[in-house]
């Protein structure tokens, strides 16, 4: 029996797009059960909340109306609801809505909404009904909600009627199918699938080089250009162990060889992957959407030593100058190369007249960026095992202003191709289309990037 005592609806009642001052640009009232004028109090409430405290969470309630919002570019996207709304779902829906609209308008901002209100209305009608999210697959939506409208408007100005207008689109079968992410009848002359294994390294180090926190966030992005309804199976190398996410919780079988196992902390799959199949025998099988999508993402807690380490000594002579000596070491194998390396070293906001010297660094450049209050040290390529040194001296004003400047860490950005930190590898990608029986080509690339990669500094 459902618990009859709880009388509360979980859905949202209306969705608004507001400009940065909180003025409504466009809205859709899905249920007619909240007064639409409630939106007028939103900017006031937001301001009041900001006055009160610097902590303004993404949801608050006033007079029985819930305001759940996020900001994107110069917009607020706001959902109004009453009762005990499922706020996780609501916020996620708003994020998805942003994705869908970005897919249509290239960039979702005040101007693009004003210019494309017709298609925005159409989409709002389709993605949600009576407060229940329906479908947010941009790919599928694009099959029956087209921007023909805009074209028509252009042509109508010239007075010429284009052919084909009036032939109304039909809802793609996929909208309601079990395979809601792929339409039937897709055809390619060459059947190809590209896999990108992308790992972001999140790292936080203390000034002395101690790793305070490190994790690897990996994802397998796929571009599929395959005909028909192909069945795919992805195989990863044996070292990958999904033990933490396994059903049994039993001890893992001994990994093969001497290599240490890659223990996945958590894995998430695109909705096309059969989760029950994965749960029972660890097989990753799926019918892919057409085009680009993220097949899976994973998280590892393995302790990684910093791939790029920056030892930074900052000597601050109050009211006169600041001296910085930064030593960079590339701590990965010499056969790998990091690309587009950027080291962002924070300096006080009121520092000026920089003098920068680089040692052992032929291909690196360093510049003081006042708008970032930082020295940005760049190199196009950095070979494994290399060491570089940067020396900088900046003047400080004789009269110091505000003492309290935010403490910012050194940020490091890079990408290393053909290399995964975790050691994960794609063994095979089997592609079977039982009706068309075509030959297909899977391709795999690997890359390691910096995620949130920060090194704290002593000041």
């Amino acid at each position: 029996m459902l618990n009859a005592q709880r009388v509360h609806f979980l859905v949202m009642s209306a969705v608004f797009f507001l400009d940065k001052k909180g003025k409504p640009l466009l809205s859709r009232n899905y249920r007619g059960d909240v007064p639409m004028s409630a939106v007028e109090t939103f900017p006031v409430l937001l301001m009041e909340a900001e006055d009160e405290t610097s902590v303004v969470p993404p949801c608050f309630t006033k007079d029985g109306i819930n305001y759940i919002y996020l900001s994107h570019n110069d917009l607020y996207i706001l959902a109004l609801s009453r009762n005990n709304t499922n706020v996780m779902e609501t916020l996620l829906f708003l994020h998805r809505l942003v994705e869908v609209l970005t897919g249509y308008l290239k960039e979702l901002a005040e101007e693009s909404i004003r210019d494309n209100f017709v298609v925005v209305y159409e989409l709002l009608d389709e993605v949600m009904d009576y407060g229940f999210p329906q479908t947010t697959e941009t790919r599928i939506l694009k099959e029956y909600i087209t921007q023909k409208n805009r074209i028509f408007q252009l042509i109508s100005a010239t007075g010429i009627k284009p052919p084909g207008i009036g032939a109304s689109p039909k809802p793609p079968v996929a909208v309601t199918n079990a395979v809601s992410w792929r339409s039937e009848g897709i055809k390619y002359s060459k059947n190809e699938a590209f896999l990108d294994v992308i790992e972001s390294v999140n790292m936080l180090c203390s000034p002395s080089g101690q790793v305070l926190k490190s994790e690897i966030l990996g994802r397998v992005a796929m571009k599929s250009y395959l005909s028909g309804m192909p069945e795919l199976r992805l195989g990863l190398n044996d070292r990958v162990i999904f033990d933490h996410v396994s059903n049994t919780g039993a001890a893992s079988p001994a990994p093969l060889g001497n290599k240490k196992p890659i223990e996945m902390e958590d894995v998430k799959f695109h909705q096309c992957v059969r989760l029950s199949r994965f749960e029972s025998d660890r097989t990753i099988s799926f019918i892919p959407p057409d085009g680009e999508f993220e097949l899976m993402s994973y998280r590892l807690n393995t302790n990684v030593k910093p791939l790029i380490w920056v030892d930074c000594k900052i000597n601050k002579h109050e009211n006169s100058r600041i001296e910085i000596v930064a030593r960079l070491r590339a701590q990965f194998k010499p056969r790998s190369t990091a690309n587009d390396v950027q080291i962002i070293i924070p300096v006080p906001e009121d520092a000026d007249s920089p003098k920068i010297k680089l040692a052992g660094a032929v291909f690196s450049k360093a510049k003081w960026k006042p708008e970032l209050s930082a020295i940005v040290w760049k190199m196009k390529h950095l070979g494994g095992g290399k060491e570089l040194v940067l020396q900088a001296e900046l003047g400080l004003p004789a009269v110091s202003g505000d003492e309290n400047q935010a403490k910012r860490p050194i940020q490091v950005k890079f990408s290393i191709p053909y290399f995964t930190t975790s050691g994960i590898q794609v063994r095979y990608l089997k592609i079977v289309e039982s009706k068309l029986l075509y030959q297909s080509w899977p391709w795999v690339r690997y890359i390691t990037q910096s995620g949130d990669y920060a090194i704290r500094v002593n000041t």
């Binding site: 029996m1 459902l2 618990n3 709880r6 009388v7 509360h8 609806f9 466009l26 899905y30 059960d33 909240v34 909340a49 009160e52 405290t53 610097s54 902590v55 969470p57 993404p58 949801c59 309630t61 006033k62 029985g64 819930n66 996020l70 009453r82 009762n83 005990n84 709304t85 499922n86 706020v87 996780m88 779902e89 996620l92 994020h95 209100f117 209305y121 009608d125 009904d129 229940f132 999210p133 947010t136 023909k148 042509i155 007075g159 109304s168 039909k170 909208v175 309601t176 079990a178 809601s180 936080l204 996410v245 919780g249 902390e265 958590d266 998430k268 909705q271 989760l275 993402s297 400047q405």
Partner: protein, 727 residues
């Protein structure tokens, strides 16, 4: 005067707009299709900008019958917006709607039935059942899934009609549908009807329904999965094998890429966990930890919900994230609301093993620039020290180092934290002189009260105590109530410990308190001390220097029954606000005596709806001045609510009290028992603390109910627990 000017200005604009209106009107009846379409678009554009284009209703209607799908959508959109203002004209549109619901194109059939349900006019309701019935058994699943929701719309418009025409039963048969999306929407609609009118028993999850939903779960879109998981989480079973079956099928959803699906799956598992045997419970708990951590790899808004929920889950299952404390370290660019939540969770996870690590990390935070963040970090340091005795020395050293920065807000917070630490670990009395050095920087009442308490408590160990207390006594009347009460007690303690030094001050303060204070509490306490001291020295000593119960923890705890309820509501607003769903969002609901009182909650929800409908009605009749009117309406509503809120908050408070007593057993009851040998009413400092604290939490609740603070889950609402545990 002002009103007439305003009216004139409005008229001026109106006249300008008149020109535009007539232009649109011409366009709408043009003989050329493209001109008509253009005019429709411009009308919708004007509507989007907030202009009232309801006068074009008849002209728009003429464009209803079209084969251009885009144009049809726009016209329908217009109808949805202005039907209320022209109910008499809607009848003209009905025919087209009915026709469209039989169109060969499923998109149009669905569009018609979807829009009809949104046109909330009596005339439309009469015509809805026919098309609805047909579309419910349409061959296209796209139409059926739309029709399923339309039943919920009809039910909202005319409950009796929907029941009489057996639409609920028809909806129930859709649970058998071959298409997963239709099933998901049928679940949505049925759940809503069930909530609205439980007596219909619309959504009975039986064994067969359960199996169907379990099967559909893996086929559904992500949103459909959320609906079905919601149903599972509210399904009640005492059968262990059934619960096991549900959990088995739901656990794979932990791997779904959609964080909302993951959180709902966790909610389902938590709901059914208690029915399972212990061993399975532990396995499932272990399996929850990784998905919970991964929720932190989402955008900040979602992370916030996740973190608030994780805190609830941690209180219920303290062990599950023990290894994961590092993921809760704050990032320097996290929004503040995330940073604060992360600190809370770090404190919840602290243990003997990781305490050093946590203290080092918190120390980093203490030298940041954001005041709120820094104060939270300092407070957290104190909580760590109380929680893990082994870390207390490190914490005290860290806190004292912070004082060297001579930042006022740091000193304020450090003093408050040190008071708690000294209560638990008197060994750190060496720190007192350094706290006293900061005396000039401390001006906030809570910090002053804390410092005064320390002075009183350690009166015999601080040589210059008299000179430290006397400035406070001099400014006695300017101090806030809290500080005054502490001062009274502190002076009594000083006198008891060092009669020679304390005599003068005590005399002065008693005189001031009894003669010059306006506050009855202060006067009463002063009189009681006075009499006590003059009648029985021994007795007064035993009262003033009574032994206090030790602090076990300063971490906020949610009372068990509320916690269980919140866990059943994970992912919803109430689980973010930490308030029971009955009163998390409905402020004007005064009478919350029984939660079976559903008519009350319903009535209350209807209040918002009533306001919504009123708004539409007003828009129809007096589009000019409705704004001001509405504002007035809101105001009066508020004033009425205030009084009710007070009653409600006192209710909540007393509830918390009761549960707290039962739970911990170390609260007021224990304190009272300390005084059993004493015949006098309990007036010792801790008990008085209790009184003042209840007062303050009363105040907080009163204030916060009328302003936004209540709703933003910041300081105000946590306060009651805070205070209650912080004797």
């Amino acid at each position: 005067m002002q009103a007439t000017i305003e009216k004139k200005i409005r008229n001026l604009f109106k006249r300008n707009f008149k020109g535009e209106t007539s232009e649109l009107r011409t366009g709408l009846v043009s003989q050329y299709a493209f001109e008509r379409k253009d005019a429709i678009e411009r009308t919708i554009h004007a509507m989007t900008l907030g202009k009232d284009v309801s006068m074009l209703f008849p002209d728009i209607l003429k464009n209803l019958a079209t084969h251009d799908l885009d144009q049809k959508k726009l016209v329908y959109l217009y109808l949805m917006n202005y039907a209320k203002t022209h109910p008499e004209l809607v009848i003209l549109a009905v025919n087209t709607f009915v026709q469209d619901s039989e169109d060969p194109n499923p998109l149009i059939r669905a569009l018609a039935i979807r829009t009809m349900g949104c046109i909330r006019v009596d005339k439309m309701i009469d015509f809805l059942p026919g098309p609805l019935e047909k579309t419910l058994s349409d061959e296209s699943p796209y139409v059926r899934k739309t029709a399923a929701i339309a039943v919920a719309k009809l039910f909202d418009l005319d409950q009796q009609l929907a029941i009489d025409l057996h639409f609920v039963e028809k909806l129930q048969t859709l649970l058998d549908d071959s298409n997963p999306m239709v099933i998901a929407n049928a679940v949505n609609a049925l759940e809503e009807i069930q909530r609205r009118a439980p007596e219909t028993n619309a959504f009975k999850v039986t064994k067969t329904v359960l199996d169907k939903l379990l099967a559909a779960l893996n086929e559904c879109t992500e949103w459909g999965r959320i609906s079905i998981l919601t149903a599972f989480s509210e399904y009640e079973t005492t059968d262990a094998s059934e619960a096991e079956h549900i959990c088995e099928r739901v656990v794979p959803q932990f791997q779904h890429a959609n964080p909302s699906v993951v959180l709902m799956a966790i909610r389902v598992v938590i709901t059914h966990l208690q029915t399972l045997p212990l061993e399975q419970r532990e396995t499932l708990q272990r399996k929850m930890s990784s998905p919970l951590v991964t929720l932190l790899a989402t955008p900040p808004e979602l992370q916030y919900v996740a973190l608030r929920n994780i805190r609830l889950i941690l209180q219920k299952f303290p062990g599950i994230l023990n290894r994961e404390i590092k993921v809760f370290y704050t990032k320097y660019n996290d929004p503040l609301y995330l940073k604060l939540e992360k600190i809370e969770i770090m404190v919840n996870l602290v243990s003997k093993e990781n305490a050093k690590q946590v203290v080092t990390e918190l120390k980093e935070y203490c030298v940041e620039v954001d005041v709120v963040f820094v104060r939270h970090a300092i407070k957290a340091l104190g909580q760590v020290a109380i929680q893990v005795p082994e870390s207390s020395e490190l914490v005290v050293d860290t806190l004292l180092d912070l004082l060297d920065h001579h930042v006022a807000y740091v000193a304020q917070e450090v003093v408050v934290v040190m008071r708690n630490i000294l209560r638990k670990y008197p060994v750190f009395e060496d720190a007192i002189p350094r706290l006293c050095d900061a005396i000039d920087e401390i001006d906030e009442p809570e910090s002053r009260a804390a410092l005064v308490w320390i002075l009183g408590e350690y009166a015999d160990r601080i040589p210059p105590v008299k000179s430290l207390i006397s400035p406070f006594v001099k400014s006695f009347l300017e101090e806030s109530t809290n500080v005054q009460l502490q001062l009274l007690t502190a002076c009594v303690k000083l006198y008891t410990k060092k009669p020679d030094e304390g005599k003068e001050l005590l005399h002065e303060i008693l005189q001031q308190a009894t003669q010059k204070s306006d506050n009855a509490d202060i006067r009463d306490r002063a009189y009681i001390y006075w009499r006590l001291l003059s009648s029985d020295a021994e007795l007064s000593k035993s009262v003033a220097l009574a032994h206090r119960p030790t602090i076990a923890s300063t971490i906020d705890r949610i009372p068990q029954p509320l916690l269980d309820e919140l866990l059943r509501n994970l992912s919803t607003l109430s689980s973010v606000y930490y308030k029971s769903p009955e009163n998390s969002t409905n402020k004007s609901n005064a009478n919350k005596s029984g939660n079976a009182n559903k008519s009350n909650t319903l009535g209350d929800a209807d209040d918002v709806q009533r306001r919504a409908h009123e708004e539409q009605r007003k828009m129809a009749h007096e589009d000019e001045i409705f704004r001001d009117d509405n504002l007035l309406d809101f105001d009066s509503g508020n004033a009425g609510d205030g009084a009710d809120d007070l009653a409600q908050s006192s209710n909540i408070l007393s509830e918390i009290f009761v549960t707290n007593d039962k739970q911990s057993g170390t609260t007021s009851q224990d304190i009272l028992s300390l005084f059993t040998p004493v015949t006098m009413p309990p007036v010792e400092s801790t008990t008085n603390n209790l009184n003042t604290n209840t007062d303050s939490s009363f105040n907080l609740n009163m204030n916060s109910n009328t302003n936004l603070k209540e709703d933003t889950p910041t300081s105000a609402e946590k306060q009651p627990f805070d205070d209650l545990l912080d004797f």
